[in-house]
């Protein structure tokens, strides 16, 4: 299959999944009660209710209602949030997104090299002490709930005055990411504060990510090391570390791409937990507090955004994968 037709097929699939996600959210929305309720109060006269129902097309057949609802979504209409003074949900999500994005950016920038190093070390020393240590680190990383890890870290770091849970920043909001805004404003103490606000959440996020990534890299490296081309390289007298880093790791890295989607999921569900622990004003905390206040429109807005991000991440990962490994699209 040609690369372009692979991209087209994969895009069609991504759009199909997004439609599915929107259907799922629509079903949940409608199961919450009469869709007209958000538009009326107890003083609205009975006669007006039917007019309002007609105005928002809520008297049409259900698939027409879905079409109107979807059309609204595409124009960025996610509804209003009662817990935030009836602010438009799309705007709320955009305002809170940068803090979550900041955490995601640093997580990727730090996790990938750390996982590369850890995965290589444990593959090179398979079933020896470094491998066992890395296994313990990984198993602990995914058996320990993120909120427990976060709370314990917070307890220790807060006692040592390393952590800030509700800082006040004096610099202007430009990107919405405190560490970057502080640099732009040239505010050194603000920069330090922004890092004290970030560091706890970052450690938890990096730990869980590295735990998965390093294991995946380790197993694909070990698999590559058993292949014929590696034996050939060894037979030619290439030394062991060059075989691993210059030959096997390049191929093992391809499998690394596949966990991008998993990482995106970790980032989003992790942000709900971690932002709640460290009081970081991102979309995760927004969704978690909306859920405790029964603000269903806001939670569902977050679910939709999550779906879009996940589908995009998986799409990009698959395209990269097919680019680096042509067997994928030929096998289709």
């Amino acid at each position: 299959m040609k690369f372009s037709s692979f991209v087209i097929r994969r895009s069609a699939f991504a759009i199909g999944v997004l439609i599915g996600v929107s259907l799922l959210v629509f079903v949940i929305t409608r199961s919450l009660g009469d869709p007209v309720t958000p538009y009326i109060t107890h003083t609205t006269p009975k006669s007006a209710v039917e007019l309002i129902r007609a105005k928002y097309h809520l008297d049409e057949p259900i698939y027409v209602q879905y079409a109107y609802w979807l059309w609204g979504l595409l124009q960025g209409d996610l509804g209003l949030s009662p817990t935030y003074g009836y602010a438009p949900i799309a705007e709320l999500l955009l305002t809170y997104l940068p803090v979550t994005a900041e955490l995601g950016i640093y997580t990727i920038v730090i996790s990938v090299p750390v996982a590369l190093w850890l995965g290589t070390v444990s593959a090179r020393n398979k079933d020896k002490t470094p491998d066992h240590l890395s296994r313990v680190f990984s198993i602990a990383g995914w058996s320990m709930p993120q909120f427990v890890m976060g709370l314990l870290l917070m307890y220790v770091m807060y006692s040592a005055h390393l952590l800030e849970v509700s800082p006040t920043f004096n610099f202007n909001r430009v990107t919405g990411m405190p560490t970057f805004d502080a640099i732009l404003a040239g505010d050194l103490s603000g920069f330090v504060d922004a890092w004290r606000y970030l560091i706890g959440a970052l450690i938890v996020m990096v730990w869980t990510n590295v735990a998965i990534m390093a294991r995946v890299l380790r197993s694909s490296l070990i698999e590559e090391m058993g292949k014929d081309y590696v034996t050939t390289a060894r037979a030619k007298g290439v030394n062991e570390s060059a075989v691993m880093i210059r030959h096997a790791r390049k191929n093992a890295l391809i499998s690394f791409i596949t966990i991008a989607g998993v990482s995106a999921g970790f980032w989003l569900s992790g942000s709900v937990i971690i932002e709640t622990v460290f009081n970081r004003l991102g979309i995760g905390l927004l969704a978690a507090s909306a859920a405790t206040h029964y603000d269903s429109a806001l939670v569902l807005g977050f679910v939709l955004l999550t779906g879009v991000i996940m589908v995009t991440a998986n799409f990009i990962a698959d395209i990269l994968y097919a680019h680096f490994d042509p067997r994928i699209r030929l096998g289709e």
């Binding site: 949940i28 058996s143 314990l152």
Partner: protein, 311 residues
């Protein structure tokens, strides 16, 4: 003479099963040779015992109508571990005895995890079997449905589902099960695709065995193994999600003996120094999940027929 007939049947059964029994024993012994798997097995058994012995270890007060509601211990602030309250108390507003919460929480966690895995296994096996055996449009429709579920992280989707279902332990179970089944469905479908053209299936079809019987008597028993192993590993993961929901305050109601809820109700006191109400339930979740992960990991390596001979 029903007795002697049962006896003959039994010895006959044992003879036909003897290769399997030998195999099972070899596999079990292989588990015992791996220290990490032994640790996992020990932890799993420990929590099983803890759950069964909960009424003895932390007897609910006589007037309690629901043992999963932690009896109140009213103190000014959270109290550190003492002889009377080995894991301390949580203090205002819910005044929980942490030891009681941890002990009954182990029962609660196993109740949640086993129900979720059980329900999702049933749905997943049914859907996977239908998709894998029928193929074509039905298969396509079912698999695209699972794709939708896979595009949302479990915790996020469960949060949204709980909105629609309401907040209680049973809705947490239902919500997580709805999130969980697609994994099993896909796995089983893959096994079905591998098996459905095998000779023994062809043979059954040739002698006129009905589709239903082919699926559930011939293919499912051969395909179910990897699904069950993943199910065992998931027992821990389900508890991670459930306790996460409890911690966020959208799972079981505050005051319930659930580890995540217990941590959530005492969170405000942590930075004042009340470490015990986070550390004890937190370590309970960690060791519980660790146990099932290690055991599942060991099971996967040992029970996989392809690696068995190498063990």
């Amino acid at each position: 003479m029903p007795d002697s007939r049962t006896a003959t049947q039994f010895s006959e059964l044992r003879r036909t099963l003897s290769p399997q029994l030998r195999e099972a024993r070899r596999r079990f012994e292989a588990i015992l040779e791996r220290p990490l798997s032994v640790l996992g097995l020990a932890l799993v058994i420990l929590y099983l015992v803890l759950a069964l012995a909960a009424p003895l270890l932390a007897p609910p007060p006589p007037d309690s109508y629901d043992p999963y509601l932690i009896p109140k211990v009213v103190t000014v602030g959270p109290q550190p571990p003492s002889y009377e309250h080995p894991f301390g108390t949580s203090g205002p507003q819910f005044y929980c005895d942490v030891f009681y919460g941890v002990v009954w929480g182990s029962r609660m966690s196993q109740l949640i995890a086993l129900s979720v895995v059980g329900i999702s296994l049933i749905i997943g096996i049914l859907v996977g079997a239908i998709a894998g055996y029928s193929g074509g449009l039905i298969d396509e429709a079912l698999m695209r449905t699972t794709d939708v579920f896979f595009s949302l992280p479990g915790l996020v989707l469960a949060m949204a589902l709980i909105l629609a279902l309401g907040r209680s332990v049973s809705t947490v179970i239902v919500a997580i099960a709805i999130v969980w089944w697609p994994g099993y469905a896909r796995l089983l479908r893959g096994e079905f695709l591998r098996l459905k053209n095998e000779l023994f299936v062809e043979a059954a079809r040739a002698i006129g065995v009905s589709d239903l019987k082919i699926v559930f008597k011939h293919i499912v028993p051969n395909a179910i193994f990897p699904v069950l192993v993943v199910g065992a590993m998931d027992v821990g993961t389900v508890v991670l999600v459930a306790s996460g929901l409890g911690f966020l305050g959208i799972g079981a109601v505050p005051g319930t003996a659930e580890w995540g809820v217990l941590i959530s109700v005492s969170r405000n006191w942590l930075l004042q120094g009340a470490w015990w109400s986070t550390v004890f339930p937190g370590m309970a979740i960690f060791t519980f999940v660790l146990g099932w992960t290690l055991l599942g990991d060991g099971l996967r390596d040992i029970l996989d027929p392809r690696t068995l001979r190498a063990v």
